[in-house]
């Protein structure tokens, strides 16, 4: 009887851990960003399927685009909405991209200017085509993405109509913007 109880705790506990920690297989990691291109295909693995069923989201189809998630900056520090964070660089080749800020559960974050992200078309670039986005709680000149001061958030960079996909390995061939903490309150 005790053995059954222990077994149930182990089984359910490991399932819960696997589904909430985001330990899906087949991730492509570039810098602070990770994408799971297989989740947008019929070849999605059982863990990712269970995760998608739990959160209630719809993964981006692979014929549509690919989504890169960042929960930390380049040094591995968790993204904190009370700090100023600089997202800087260029993106891999894509017809369009969007950068969006969510809370850990995937909800948009309320703020005074109703800005939840940028699209490749509305972002202000430097003369070399790269861009700087300041993610932080207080108004900044330039591309300011407000955090609403929440403690934890994540950034999602979605590339639409892009050759980046399952053939891509992690590494240097696909340039992703760097994420670095500038200052903290």
């Amino acid at each position: 009887m005790l053995a059954l109880a222990v077994a149930a705790v182990i089984g359910l506990g490991t399932t819960w851990m696997a589904l909430t920690r985001g330990t899906a297989y087949g991730g492509v990691t570039i810098g602070a960003w990770t994408a799971w291109p297989k989740n947008g295909t019929a070849g999605i693995d059982p863990y990712a399927r269970a995760m998608v069923a739990r959160t209630g989201e719809l993964p981006v189809g692979s014929g549509d685009g690919v989504a890169f998630y960042a929960r930390t900056d380049n040094s591995g520090e968790g993204l904190d909405g009370r700090c100023d964070v600089l997202v800087s660089g260029i993106t891999p080749q894509a017809r369009f991209w969007t950068l969006t800020l969510y809370d850990p559960e995937g909800h948009l974050v309320a703020n005074s200017v109703q800005r939840q992200g940028f699209t490749s078309q509305e972002i202000v670039r430097k003369s070399d085509g790269s861009f700087d986005v300041i993610v932080g709680p207080r108004v900044r000149p330039g591309n300011w993405l407000p955090t609403g001061g929440i403690e934890k958030y994540q950034l999602v960079l979605r590339l639409y109509d892009t050759p980046i996909g399952m053939a891509t390995r992690g590494g240097t061939e696909a340039p992703m913007p760097s994420i670095n903490r500038v200052s903290c309150q």
Partner: protein, 180 residues
């Protein structure tokens, strides 16, 4: 001692089985998955706009706020479906999901190569029953086979700037999905 070790081993094995079973069963048992959320607002076999996500309410988590989105919740049990959507100015995509939210097919405006994305959606059995005449083999007729009888077609039109929202919504409002 040995009895204790065996007991532990048994508990671990059982735990492993419970783990695998819950992971595999969860997609079937989840009551708040995307299909269930969409079912609350979308009748069968018609295109319905999904309200844009806001911080206070969103039909699903992780929706991209830069897109206007419509959905067709389909049921192929009475026959195949004809789907069409005119492409909007910026970027339009059509993604297909099974009853358990697996993205099995997606196409965008450039891949479609025309002003309208047009296709037939059917089950593998319905496809096998198609008469083999010229009409079917016509190269420009796109046929998508759905692994499940029910599922979702998600139509998304990009609004790269706020001013594009009405045009994107208009394009999506002209989308059709109806039984043949």
């Amino acid at each position: 001692m040995i009895r204790m070790a065996l007991w532990l081993l048994g508990a671990l094995l059982l735990g492993g089985i419970v783990h695998l079973a819950t992971v595999l069963l969860l997609p079937r048992l989840a009551s708040q998955d995307a299909y269930a959320r969409v079912s609350a607002i979308a009748p069968l076999n018609s295109v319905v706009p999904i309200p844009p996500p806001t911080p206070d309410s969103a039909v699903m988590p992780f929706m991209d706020p830069a897109f206007a989105m419509s959905v067709c919740r389909y049921d192929l049990s009475r026959g195949s479906l004809k789907f069409s959507v005119p492409i909007s100015q910026a970027y339009t995509s059509v993604s297909f999901y099974t009853r358990s939210d697996v993205a099995y097919y997606a196409i965008n405006d450039r891949a479609a190569g025309r002003r309208v994305i047009e296709l037939d959606l059917m089950t593998p059995a319905q496809r096998a029953d198609l008469p083999e005449n010229e009409d079917v083999t016509r190269a420009d007729r796109l046929i998508v086979t759905s692994p499940t009888t029910t599922g979702l077609i998600v139509i998304r039109a990009l609004t790269p700037e706020a001013g594009w929202i009405p045009a994107a919504r208009n394009a999506l409002a002209a989308a059709r999905c109806r039984p043949q």
